[in-house]
């Protein structure tokens, strides 16, 4: 009888701790979002989108940083995602179980969680040292390297979800594999691949470490890809650690913008996936 009540107490104790752990996790998310909102909203104004980053103590906005982040993220995706999609296609359609594919899958998963600062050092070594100076192009390349594993993984997964019957039908009509892939598999897996791109954009648009010594920062408006370019994460980093109140509030505004953008992208990607799964479930 005694033993039984001990077991029951144990059960209540550990389940209680489990609920507590979940509450703590959710509280952290809430606390971070609340801090961002309370500091960030206060700092929001039209100036953010019309003026350049100010010198110390001055007033200004984040226009050059927003532009730089948009350009480098876009370039990063434009360079990285075709590679990721093509490599994913190889793994799903040509390589399948070959030893090369197994190795690539493994390496890709390692790259997916490798520290991004290492990627920064890599691009620094192959591009910045050679060019002799920091540049937006180097920043975009670092982001592209980070985007490849994400798009590769989702592309392969999504192509594997396409029913084998569709592929067989196309092959039975005499189509070569490339034709099947381009005209049948890609359209069928389109929304899944787009989701992968969204996730990749979300992943790279908040990256700071790889930009520190590739794109660096630029206080002024610059559209030159071979020159240092301002970008939101690095501006947030530098302004938040500065002693100036104006800079700190700009950092909070920037942090709010980045986070909201990333959360919206992630939620959008998730909803597309959920819709996909539902429609696929209904089809069966």
């Amino acid at each position: 009888m005694k033993r039984r009540s001990l077991r029951r107490w144990n059960n209540v104790l550990f389940l209680g701790l489990s609920v507590l752990a979940t509450a703590v996790g959710l509280a952290c998310l809430a606390a971070i979002l609340w801090t961002l909102l309370s500091h960030g909203v206060a700092a929001l104004s039209w100036r953010l989108f019309t003026q350049m980053t100010p010198p110390p103590g001055g007033q200004g906005g984040l226009l050059n940083a927003l532009y730089g982040s948009a350009v480098m993220t876009l370039l990063g995706i434009l360079i990285g995602s075709p590679i990721g999609v093509l490599a994913g296609t190889y793994l799903a359609e040509y390589g399948r179980d070959s030893r090369l594919s197994t190795a690539i899958r493994f390496i890709n998963d390692v790259l997916l969680s490798a520290p991004s600062i290492i990627v920064g050092l890599f691009v620094y070594a192959i591009l910045v040292v050679r060019m002799g100076h920091f540049s937006a192009l180097a920043g975009a390349l670092a982001l592209a390297v980070l985007a490849i594993p994400v798009t590769l993984r989702t592309t392969e997964d999504m192509l594997n979800l396409v029913p084998a019957g569709m592929k067989d039908s196309s092959a039975a009509l005499g189509a070569y594999p490339w034709r099947t892939t381009v005209s049948v598999l890609y359209p069928a897996a389109r929304s899944g691949i787009v989701t992968g791109l969204l996730l990749a954009v979300a992943r790279i648009s908040g990256e700071t470490a790889p930009l520190l010594f590739t794109a660096l920062n630029n206080q002024f408006w610059s559209t030159d890809l071979s020159a240092p370019m301002a970008n939101l994460p690095v501006v947030i980093f530098q302004f938040a650690l500065s002693p100036y109140k104006d800079w700190q509030s700009l950092a909070w505004a920037g942090a709010l913008i980045v986070t909201v953008a990333i959360l919206v992208l992630s939620i959008a990607a998730r909803s597309i996936l959920a819709l996909l799964q539902r429609s696929r479930g209904a089809a069966r």
Partner: protein, 319 residues
Amino acid sequence: MAIIDARHAARQLVYERVFRGATLAAAVLVLLILGGVALSLVKGAWPAVSHFGPKFVTTEAWNPVTDEYGALGPIYGTLVTSTIAMLIAVPTAFGIALFLTQLCPAVLKRPIGVAVELLAAVPSIIFGIWGLFVLAPILQRHVQPWLIAHAAPIPVLHALFKGPPYGIGVLTAGLVLAIMVLPFIAATMRDVFETVPAMLKESGYGLGATTWEVMWHVVVPHSRVGIVGGVMLGLGRALGETMAVTFVIGNAHRISASLLAPGTTISSAIANEFTEAVGDLYTSSLIALGLLLFLITFTVIALAQLMLRRLSRSAGAAT
């Protein structure tokens, strides 16, 4: 007609070869990137490695003025902050995964799961400024004075919680890291727990076990490999995390027994000093730090992947 068909077929064959070649090239590029990363780090680190030899990883000195660099401080900081992070994050993540898979009402399952995953999507720099402006002041005012006062009479704890409450420091960095890696570990554990066949769990309940007993004696042993894989994946993140740590660790190349003292980690040292490093030996020493980090995280992540792979293979074989 036959000629056109032949031409058409020949052209199709060319397209096929080009397309196949392009996908193969892209796939091989992934291998080349990893190889390139390793090669460029070794090449960049070589001057420092050949100059200092094994002394590089055993000395604490980090002095740009006399051009002497030792990696012991950053290595120590990386290991200690990651240890703190794992000590906090692993049990908490376990609790979250337990809640999500065994206790949570079906209606809440998806929203809470998504919330945990969104926490994983928040960029690390946000954790950094949150840690610096919100967590550090709270710790400095309320938590650290209490720790210092209450740890003073206890021998080991006294050394761990000694000195003035700076707010920022090794302990704060560990805490921020714990919050950062929590969602990764929790999400992996949840997925692993969900692979446990319902039949096994039902058998446990059928024998009269409580929910906790089923969890501890059935679910955990069954998913041991996956749990370790998830923990290692989180550890890989914690070891390599840069921005969140750089904000709150205080950046001092010093090893102190006290967890309240400022320190540095491999990644935050690189982030802080790389663009300001003058002199080839300084830059090379920082790249050597990067090489160390690469080797450590590569090993940890590779082991994690191997374990998770083994699990998914055995789960695939069972179903």
